[in-house]
């Protein structure tokens, strides 16, 4: 992980960290013929330090894909490899959190309401045993970084949606998972808060050198954040487009539309989503 540059350009290629091979998810019973595929034949390689955004029309299975990677959902076909080792798949029992390699920021913040912000952020550390002084120090630093150091002793219900999102992000980063999955984390926020959090996320990403798989339905957000965009589409959902985003970093998410190549990326993705929508 440390091999990577803090702000990898689109051309920098790390080793494959996460590999999805022929992944498929279906509901219903295969024997009775009422099997309904949500995702099918998903092949995706996410490299160390890469920021991959996943887009797709609603119902294309974006969230389902993340749930499968986080192992809260069992795939019906295919395999998930982590650093080349199979960790999940159709033939393995799902075991979320087994090796704590994955951080998952869901649409809801999922903070424990009876814990203060600080106790929520410390939660992943305390369940793994007594946290070391260095880990506590890091938690402090993270809380400061997401701007919640003055809110450490408040309960989640006392915070705004944006602040809860930040707390949730700090809780995920505190145990340093190599890869972080994010499912439309800023979807429910107002534009200003969202822009601020996007900028903060890019900062965190460059200092923490994380690999991020980020689901969004917002083309601007996808282009502003990602090294690469993957578009899922159809029923069942398949990968219909993979596109490198060559806009130089550091980027300003709010002004991303001013980048010279923005329009071409936007058109390509929109065309892809639209074509899929009519198909």
């Amino acid at each position: 992980m440390k091999l990577n540059m803090p702000t990898p350009a689109a051309t920098t290629i790390g080793c494959p960290l996460l590999e999805l091979r022929q992944l498929g998810i279906s509901y219903g019973d295969a024997a009775s013929g009422e099997q309904r595929w949500v995702l099918r034949d998903i092949d995706l390689v996410v490299r160390e330090g890469e920021f991959v955004t996943v887009m797709g029309s609603s119902g294309a299975g974006k969230s389902t894909l993340l749930n499968v990677v986080a192992q809260t959902l069992q795939p019906s076909a295919g395999q998930i490899l982590f650093r080349g080792t199979p960790v999940g798949g159709a033939d393995m029992a799902p075991n979320p959190g087994s090796n704590r390699q994955i951080g998952y920021v869901t649409q809801d913040d999922n903070l424990l309401p009876w814990r203060t912000v600080w106790d929520n952020v410390m939660f992943p550390l305390t369940i793994a045993g007594r946290p070391s002084p260095a880990a506590v120090e890091k938690a402090h630093a993270l809380l400061k970084q997401v701007g919640l150091d003055r809110w450490a002793n408040h309960y989640p219900h006392q915070l705004s949606g944006g602040m809860r999102k930040r707390a949730s992000l700090a809780r995920t980063l505190v145990y340093s998972p190599p890869i972080v999955l994010m499912d439309e984390p800023f979807g429910a926020l107002d534009a200003e808060t969202r822009a601020q959090l996007q900028a903060d996320l890019l900062n965190l990403w460059s200092t923490e050198r994380k690999t991020i798989l980020f689901v969004t339905h917002d083309i601007n957000e996808a282009v502003a954040l990602g090294d690469r965009i993957v578009v899922l589409s159809g029923t069942p959902g398949r990968v219909v487009l993979e596109r490198q985003i060559d806009i130089a970093r550091p980027r300003d998410p709010e002004l991303i539309f001013k980048a010279p190549t923005f329009a071409s990326h936007y058109d390509a993705i929109r065309g892809c989503l639209r074509g899929a929508g009519h198909a």
Partner: protein, 257 residues
Amino acid sequence: MSRVWVDRTALGGVLLLAWEIASRMLGPYWISSPLLVLERMWVMAGNGDLWFHGRFTLAEAFGGFVVGAVPGCVTAMLLRRHPLVRSAFLGIAAIGYAIPKTALVPLFILWLGVGPGAKVALVASAIFFIVFYSTWHGVEAVDNKLLLSARVLGASERQLLRLVVWPSVVPYVFGGLRVAIPYAIAGAIVGEIISSNRGIGYLAQYGAMDFDTTLVFVALVSVMCVVLSVGAVLSLIQRRLLRWQATPSQGKPAPIV
């Protein structure tokens, strides 16, 4: 808030006054009077009679409360992970809940004698189902998304139970306990009325046999005081433990980013 208390005190005062006037007009034989009750309580508190009888009732109620509430709560928590046992147990529990507990008193007396054991059993049999069902509702209401996210963060099954399930169930347990308090006291008193030679239920029974209406009311008022004060203590504990809950009465505007 204070306005409510003024109104309550006024209404209570009017009712007591009406009672006193009625007693003056009709004579205290059937309905006693607030002043007579107060006087008798004072005397009985002074000579130790009230405490002598009260402590038996309290001990039976408290004993039955613990013997019923702890297994009720633990059983509901354990059922979460065992679907087969769960459906079987829920069926049996529905039958157990339906049986009127007072009808079991003869059995309890047969098994445990006329001493405090039968009263404890009666109280426990009522409390168990109340606490079991309220805890079970809490277990069913645990937010699945919280469980999944805690799993992804690396929590083991035992940690889930201790750190996610239990804290979300606590408010439900308290709900059950608050409902259970009057039942616990009532169970102890009913047990004493049916057979005993001490306790507040015995006092009430003895008073009625002796046409001593005042004594019956003394028993009633003492029971009322006990239920209200135990309830108040429980609310206090609940409020301290459940500080994290957003209550409208806090009325604090949420901070904004």
